[in-house]
Subunit: 355 residues, 2 copies
């Protein structure tokens, strides 16, 4: 990508104003409107000339010859990176966010889902949340419970709550005492460790220590594997119907394509999970990111933008909040919303963390 020519002050101001006006009205912005509504100190003809140059530079596009201008991906990008003034939340928004987490559930999946509801309600767009990978939770406790001679229940508790439970049917009788000894051995060896650091070899070693059968060894491996990973990405989305309000999605074909992606969680996950890896390594506070139109990849989302904001849980756990909407979204407000919600969510998770 070639560097865009630098924008002089007036061009920058005009671009910012076009984006601002278009975000508010959803109508192509003409030179006349600009001269009238905003005090630029120059005539519409001058603005016209500037806008022509902004179009040549790739910041604006014209839907048709005799229409006003609309920002391009590059126009939005410049706006977000350099022209936009950061916003802070209204008192009311802050209060609603705090209120939501004050009496939120302790259950990770419930919290994640409630957070997407909150965020979609406040933002008027589609909200998505990815739960922190279980690999990064700390192991707290495992208990093998005796239910009957040939059945038992295994429960694994991590710092984020119960990660997995599973019923086993044994081939041969098992007594409660063996289960307790095995539980104790595993607890003393693994307590406090991060799940992804626990190796299968270590599990087997612990089993051998108390003379567990081969069958039990397999069972222990299975239950640990299950508590580390889920088959489907752990993700929630809500507020899809908000998109119906946006004039750009009145075309049903486009809307379908988008909703298909949302329903098919895998694609949605891949879209946002990019934010996980870099943030987990980078030290310091997390940063919101904005991805605009074609930057997102899928053609179906070429008229959408996404604001993402990682949140932290414990030392290692990282999840992501995201807001998906039309490119014509109020970036400042949504960034502020996502940031504050991510912060509150992280705080809440740390509060309810099992220590």
């Amino acid at each position: 990508m070639i560097d865009k020519p630098e924008l002089d002050k007036r061009k920058a101001f005009i671009l910012a104003t076009v984006v601002y006006e278009y975000i508010n009205t959803a109508e192509p912005v003409g030179s006349g409107t600009l001269a009238q509504k905003y005090n630029l100190g120059v005539s519409s003809a001058t603005i016209r000339n500037e806008m022509a140059e902004l179009e040549a530079g790739g910041y604006l596009v014209q839907p048709h010859t005799s229409a006003g201008r609309v920002p391009s991906d590059a126009g939005y990008r410049t706006y977000v990176d350099r022209l936009m003034t950061p916003e802070s939340l209204t008192k009311d928004d802050s209060r609603r966010i705090r209120g939501q987490f004050r009496d939120a559930s302790r259950e990770l999946t419930d919290v994640i889902e409630q957070t997407t509801r909150l965020l979609s309600g406040l933002s008027g767009n589609l909200a998505i949340a990815i739960a922190p990978s279980r690999d990064t939770h700390a192991f707290k406790h495992v208990q093998l419970l005796w239910l009957s001679a040939r059945t038992s229940l295994a429960v694994v508790v991590t710092s984020a709550g119960v990660a997995a439970q599973r019923v086993f049917e044994w081939q041969s009788d098992v007594d409660a005492d063996t289960l307790t000894r095995l539980s104790n051995a595993l607890n003393s060896r693994l307590g406090g460790r991060i799940m992804e650091d626990v190796s299968p070899a270590e599990l087997e070693g612990t089993c051998d220590e108390i003379g567990a059968t081969r069958e039990m060894r397999d069972a222990v491996r299975a239950i640990f594997a299950q508590s580390r990973q889920t088959e489907e990405p752990d993700l929630a989305a809500s507020g899809a119907q908000n998109l119906l309000d946006q004039p750009e999605f009145h075309d049903l074909r486009k809307l379908r394509a988008i909703l298909r992606i949302v329903e098919e969680q895998r694609t949605l996950y891949d879209l946002i999970a990019d934010e996980l890896a870099p943030d987990a390594q980078r030290p310091g506070p997390s940063q919101p990111h904005v991805r605009i139109g074609h930057e997102l990849g899928p053609e179906a989302l070429s008229e959408c933008s996404v604001v993402t904001m990682p949140y932290r849980f414990g030392d290692r756990g990282v999840g992501v909040l995201a807001i998906l909407g039309p490119r014509r979204m109020p970036y400042g407000r949504l960034i502020a919303l996502a940031s504050e919600t991510a912060r509150s969510l992280g705080d809440h998770l740390n509060d309810v963390e099992i220590r």
Copy 2:
């Protein structure tokens, strides 16, 4: 409601054909089309007369003077109750349903969600599932686990798997032995009982037996209350984007109203939960039900129909599957799909039930 006049054979056949044709084409059906495509043995003029009478009887309506006819709620109702021939599933559908449950999760909420995905995929409509109320599960096991001197974890296991877990922070030190004795006492007193039959007095009695503190009594009550009920109805829905394909929902206002109801789970639950109560009492196999247009209640759903089918879990647990779509839905096929899926789901739940 006044009884409709009986339909003679020919009227019945014409009504059935109009409904059938309209379901397939989504276009108002005219007398000419009927005479041409279906072998009625009479001319279009005769059909015209019959259709006029069917309209007078309230079975058909005309969108405008020079258009064909469209079924009314009463027309669909008659079709579903008396005219339609029951369908059975294709080999392929049956295979997909069986395949889905062969390696389905043991986790109740996962199964419920996967079932809605399956059903929305097969039916091409919106699928909804309500999980059986936890009140009807059988109590299996409770374990109070010692995590540290002042924190412990309680896990309640019911016949459908883990129902609740909760971390307690105690005001004063608690030792592992007390927790174990309390767990044992609760288990021996309550094992196998249905959750809704367990009274708070009984819980308190058991606590007193082993000399538990007031604080622990409250904790036990809380964990049992939590395992019986969830705040939100336990419900899953998927396939909303299927509705976009239906021509009747190309009107965005109508679509919005419907999606709003779907997102707001409470209304959706109330809509379908009616099916729970009567079926739980009635002996014998469950029956599918169809509710059409205004029968559903909410004005927003006046152009929709819902097929519901209860499924059973254990002796008492009853949940419901539902398919929501336009009134112009292939009732025979959807009833067969819902029935077969409900049966498979019930079987699966009973297979994975903890005994």
